[in-house]
């Protein structure tokens, strides 16, 4: 058993964990639940030796243990698989698995044969049918995850911590992963499983521990729990699911029309998007669903002028034929894109809230060719208030804010531009339930104000809750267009699953 006793972890000015205690049992999948900022990651980093300075103690097999580095934690049998995988893409599976613990022959050189055989055995145990010499860059994300697990098994870890392991993999890959977890459980390992996806936890977890605002709230058996009561424990109050009346199915007042849009693959001679046509009305929310690799993000990028040389087809905005050779052109035509990865593509993380909000509209904020400080402050204040962005001031660097607030800043940046069409790529990924609901409300309000909205999402409940009409992409093709009144998870999934093998 791995026990955490009265752990407190302080960062300058903030208490991330406050007197947290919990017990994690072998042969069980222990789920850790909590909103973003509840302290899950901090706790996992303490368990895996990333943060050596904390108050309280860790007991492992009834012995107090103290790790000053990840290596020490590993030596003790605790391995963590991070949300962002830590593999080196240019090295192959074998080299990645043995990184830092290479087997040497008697000459002190790498013993590739021995390592290859160990890797083969590990992959076989995890049912991953791949050559150990395959470069990791050629693996799917799900397969890379299995390689991470193989790394944990190599050091004979008894505690395996998985942080959001299913956030980027397809349903099939989830099944494979759960099969592996099942086996590890049978081997009496302590599995610690962190996820935002509650339905998943009901499938796989045996026990739960709920963290809220840095405190451990409750723990117990998953058996007998239901989704609502778990959510209530996480947020401390009940959340009602929002709904919008959708009666009208025909596209009225057409804002955007796409005809026969295709996008060529960046290196291969094939199309990532094939012959896509659809239209979007004023004030309409169009849900775009697709599994991983269906081409959702690519479609948004192509519409936004990011791949001008590889895109063919026609785009009409307000009936006018457009040609976008850069995002600047698309923005000029009234389009806006809230990208999937806000840290990589949405924000300048080192800059403050104000600068990020003002970035798209600087030409309106000038007087006499120079930036007007007051106008900038006014604009930032306006959106901090309207979108209820929680920040100590508009001079706060955005990398210090939570995911939900960061997402609101990206939204603010685009709302300031007064777009006609707002495209949101996975707008609620990785943000907590409260912030999610706030984002949904903002989206609904914007639609009411007449903006045409496209929401890309891989979460079916989300798509069903907010869309007026749902488009389904599968392997780069538009496979279904369903009014929400006749949509169900089954219908959508059927259209989304690839037909070719």
């Amino acid at each position: 058993m791995l026990a955490v006793e009265n752990i407190t972890k302080r960062f300058p000015g903030v208490i991330a964990l406050n007197n947290v205690s919990m017990e994690l049992y072998p042969g069980k999948v222990n789920a850790i639940l909590g909103e973003n900022g509840a302290g899950k990651s901090t706790l996992m980093k303490i368990l895996s030796g990333v943060y050596p300075d904390y108050e309280g103690r860790i007991l492992y097999k009834d012995e107090p243990v103290y790790f000053t580095s990840v290596r020490e934690a590993q030596a003790c049998g605790i391995a963590i698989i991070h949300q962002e995988l830590n593999l080196i893409p240019y090295l192959n599976i074998r080299e990645n698995i043995f990184l830092g613990r290479e087997i040497l022959n008697k000459w002190g050189l790498l013993d590739k044969e021995a390592m290859r055989n160990r890797t083969k055995a590990l992959l076989k145990r995890l049912k991953l049918d791949l050559d150990p010499d395959t470069p990791v860059s050629q693996l799917k994300i799900g397969q890379q995850q299995v390689v991470e697990i193989a790394k944990a098994l190599l050091i004979d870890a008894d505690v395996i911590i998985m942080d959001e392991p299913t956030s980027a993999i397809s349903d099939h890959e989830v099944d494979v992963l759960f099969g592996i977890i099942e086996n590890l459980r049978k081997e009496n390992k302590i599995i610690v499983y962190i996820s935002h996806k509650l339905d998943e936890l009901f499938r796989i977890a045996d026990r739960f521990v709920v963290l809220r605002d840095g405190c451990s709230i409750e723990s117990g058996d998953m058996k007998g729990m239901d989704q609502d009561s778990l959510i209530q424990k996480m947020v401390g109050r009940h959340i009602s699911i929002i709904r919008k009346q959708k009666e009208d199915q025909s596209v009225k007042d057409e804002l955007l029309r796409i005809e026969n849009l295709s996008l060529r693959h960046s290196d291969k001679a094939e199309n990532v998007l094939k012959d896509i046509s659809f239209s979007l009305g004023r004030g309409e929310i169009l849900g775009l669903f697709g599994l991983m690799g269906a081409g959702r993000t690519e479609l948004m990028e192509a519409l936004f002028g990011l791949h001008p040389k590889r895109t063919v087809g026609s785009i009409y905005v307000d009936g006018k034929h457009m040609h976008f050779s850069s995002p600047a052109d698309a923005i000029k035509a009234g389009l806006a894109l809230v990208p999937e990865d806000r840290k990589k593509d949405g924000l300048v993380l080192g800059m403050d809230v104000r600068t990020n909000i003002c970035l798209t509209t600087l030409d309106d904020l000038e007087t006499g060719g120079l930036l007007n400080h007051d106008k900038e402050c006014d604009l930032a204040e306006k959106y901090i208030g309207e979108l209820r962005i929680k920040t100590p001031s508009d001079k706060q660097a955005v990398n210090n804010l939570s995911g939900g607030n960061q997402q609101k800043i990206v939204l603010a940046k685009w709302l300031a531009k007064k777009p006609k069409v707002l495209m949101l790529d996975e707008p609620t990924r990785g943000i907590d339930i409260n912030a999610k609901n706030e984002i949904y409300n903002i989206i609904l309000q914007l639609a009411d104000a007449g903006i045409g909205i496209i929401v890309v999402s891989s979460e079916l409940p989300e798509i069903l809750a907010i869309s007026d009409r749902i488009l389904v992409l599968s392997e780069g093709r538009l496979t279904a267009e369903i009014p929400v009144s006749s949509a169900s998870e089954n219908v959508i999934l059927k259209a989304a699953i690839p037909k070719t093998i």
Partner: protein, 334 residues
């Protein structure tokens, strides 16, 4: 609520340490001056102060352009060669004009004409840098390294490997003259610094420079024309290097074919000592100016103390290291 208040107080502490960090190089400069004025009675004189200012004015010109480039997460290694070529073009046109024997044509140049031609060459080389970097995605290090060689070669071709001297007294005014009691090169570099400060802090263009260096993807998706901004930044860097070249040429009354060798490194040193991050998005023009002054004072002091030039290089190297190590320690604290 409590958390927000905590964050606030934490912020004011942060602000305090940050402004302290900003003054750190200023404090270092004062200590340096204090020590030097004890060790040498020639150091703290007005003559010597102007002397230092005049010596660093060229580096300030180049380093200002380098700061803009580095803020976009780029680098410009070509500035030393561009400086030499611009100076040589200006000197050559001024002294010899342009002859076209086939057309039996001779074009003479006034000082203004020759200077403008020199500036044009510098700016064009900057455009070329920006073009290869944006159009062909050549890493800035490689693209400007190529132009370093190209421009040096062109300088040798233009000068045939010999200095071009005897440029006239009025041209010398740029490098050696005084205006309102201040040396002309100090005027030039001062005006450049002022304009660059205004540019970086008060204009859209300046904001875009920081945004691109901070996150190029997000900037592109925000509708910023990355290529245009980058080309403009390299063009400015080239033009400022050309101004440096004209000052150097005027001061020596001669264009040396090997002028400006390793000047790019002095400029980068000033940028780095001034606290600008080589990965882009963070830094300031005034920091770079301070960096250039520190290097200048150090050089001057070591000369006054009769330290061998070989040792000067060793000391300068350690100062650069020290500056970056302190900077790293500071950003970790934040």
């Amino acid at each position: 609520m409590e958390a927000i208040i905590k964050l606030n107080s934490q912020n004011s502490i942060k602000k305090y340490t940050r402004s302290l960090a900003r003054f750190q190089s200023l404090i270092a400069l004062f200590i340096l001056c204090f020590v030097l004025s004890i060790l040498s009675d020639k150091f703290l004189t007005i003559d010597n102060a102007w002397n230092v200012m005049r010596q660093i004015s060229v580096n300030i010109c180049i380093a200002t352009g380098m700061t803009l480039v580095v803020l976009t997460a780029g680098i410009d290694l070509s500035v030393g060669s561009v400086l030499a070529l611009s100076g040589a073009i200006t000197a050559g046109l001024l002294r010899n004009g342009l002859e076209f024997p086939s057309a039996n044509l001779y074009v003479g140049f006034t000082i203004l004409g020759a200077v403008l031609a020199g500036l044009l060459i510098g700016a064009l080389l900057g455009v070329f840098n920006g073009w290869t970097i944006t159009r062909f995605k050549v890493p800035p290090f490689v693209a400007t390294l190529a132009v370093l060689t190209i421009a040096r070669g062109l300088t040798m071709l233009w000068t045939k490997g010999f200095p071009i001297s005897g440029l006239g007294e009025s041209f010398s005014f740029i490098g050696t003259g005084w205006f309102l009691g201040i040396p002309v090169p100090v005027w030039i570099s001062g005006i450049i610094v002022l304009m660059a400060v205004l540019l970086t802090r008060k204009t859209r263009f300046g904001r875009y420079i920081y945004a691109i260096g901070g996150n190029e993807n997000a900037s592109r998706l925000s509708g910023i024309n990355i290529d245009k901004i980058k080309i403009a930044v390299y063009t400015i860097a080239g033009g400022l290097a050309a101004i440096g070249g004209i000052i150097v040429t005027s001061r020596l009354d001669s264009a040396q074919p090997n002028a400006g060798i390793t000047y790019e490194l002095d400029a980068i040193a000033a940028v780095v000592i001034g606290g600008t991050s080589l990965s882009g998005g963070k830094g300031s023009i005034m920091g770079t100016v301070l960096g250039a002054i520190i290097i200048g004072v150090l050089n001057n002091g070591l000369v006054l103390l009769n330290v061998s030039p070989f040792w000067q290089q060793v000391v300068k190297g350690f100062v650069i290291l020290l500056a970056v190590i302190i900077d790293k320690a500071n950003s970790k604290n934040q």
